[in-house]
Amino acid sequence: MKEKFEIKELINVGVFTALYFVVVFVTCFIGMVPICMVLIPLVIPIVAGIPLMLFYSKIKRFGMFTISGVLFGLIMFLMGSYSWVILLTCGLAGLLADVVLMLGGYKSIKHCIAASAIFSLWGIGTFISLFFGFREEYLQNITSGYGQEYVDALSSFTPAWMFYVMAAMCIVGGIIGGLLGAAVLKKHFRKAGMA
């Protein structure tokens, strides 16, 4: 970070992070049915990618998107009921997406789409507790609250290889969302001179 951020940039960060969170949160509601829960990593980046692309078009400096990722992780941690891992994945995904944006010189659409795919990997933080070493503890934890039947249904949907499928769904969803967002920008915002 060479020089201080302008206030205008920081306000953009705040406003667009809030918009992104709300879109993610609303889309999350379809995940209350256990079967749809598995599809969430695909659907969320598709819808949320649209405002994300508009935000990318406003970014002109390294660091802005990292802040956005950290704030998003913070608010997901506070309101989204995930473990502290989400703080880590959101921050890292924000940083990586920021690096990709910088490589594109903050202008290239291709880099923006790639950054959208990379940032949607924050979703790993939401479902990593179902896999690897966390699995037994997590399932045991929710058994007391949600009951055995729910846990059985959940664990039958999520064998170990499902982790990689879900991570891949994040990336694919991010790419589709990025393309959609680029199309929306072209259709609505370029003409109005807003992007």
Partner: protein, 239 residues
């Protein structure tokens, strides 16, 4: 929607420091979201469920407090006494809303209380006192202010769609998303521009130390609240 106006008016029974509110918010969220109910955890959960109720009473939002009480009470009752006797599909259908309600209601009501009772000025001042860098404080305060605005914008868009008789006729979800999201994005861009113009007139980018007239200060009660919140979090992780 009035934000942060209640905290500054006189008829508030008990108004803790923003920092105390934030630590309580953290404690309530961490304790309520994992669903265990045995031994020490049961006591902690009971305390955390009662906290938002009392705080709502303290800012004289009696209706919200009663709604919160009924909602959480019903969900806890269902989980404790009805669920053990239901099985299969009905069990899952009942269990999911109950599980969501018992876990999240307290946290959301707590969030709502914080947004309602902390003014932007108080929030920024207390963040400054915690030595948070400006590039975190400014986006964070913009964010908290922007959530209710988003709700307003959505309602206006919904009304506008109704008067033009679109909405119900749109079957394709992608088209519907476009119809709602594009105007919201437009107004987001516009609001961001207006906010930065407003901050320019307030001299936010001029540098120099920020001054304020609101009093933000930790009293003995606030220190006690912060201590209790962290004690609860530690107790929760130890047991």
């Amino acid at each position: 929607m009035q934000i942060g106006l209640i905290g500054s008016s006189k008829n508030v029974i008990f108004d803790p420091d923003p920092r105390a509110k934030l630590s309580m918010l953290l404690a309530v969220n961490i304790v309520m979201i994992s669903g265990g109910a045995a031994g020490v955890e049961l006591v902690l959960r009971a305390v955390c469920a009662a906290l938002p109720f009392l705080l709502l009473l303290s800012i004289r939002h009696f209706r919200a407090a009663v709604i919160y009480f009924i909602l959480l009470g019903t969900a806890v009752y269902c989980e404790g006494f009805v669920l053990p006797y239901t099985h299969g599909i009905a069990g899952i259908l009942l269990m999911i809303p109950c599980g969501i309600l018992t876990r999240f209601t307290a946290g959301y009501v707590m969030c709502w209380y914080c947004v309602k009772s902390v003014s932007v000025s108080e929030f920024v001042t207390s963040m400054e006192k915690m030595h948070t860098p400006y590039f975190i404080t400014i986006p964070l305060s913009v964010m908290f202010r922007y959530f209710p605005t988003l709700g307003e914008e959505y309602r206006s868009i919904h009304d506008a769609m109704k008067t033009r008789e679109i909405g119900q006729s749109v079957k394709n979800p992608l088209i519907y998303i476009e119809y709602v999201l594009v105007p919201i994005m437009m107004s987001t861009v516009r609001i961001a521009d207006e906010l930065s113009a407003a901050s320019l007139t307030k001299g936010l980018s001029a540098g120099g130390k920020r001054t304020h007239i609101c009093e933000v200060r930790l009293t003995a009660a606030d220190r006690l609240l912060i201590l209790c919140s962290f004690a609860m979090i530690i107790l929760f992780f130890v047991f």
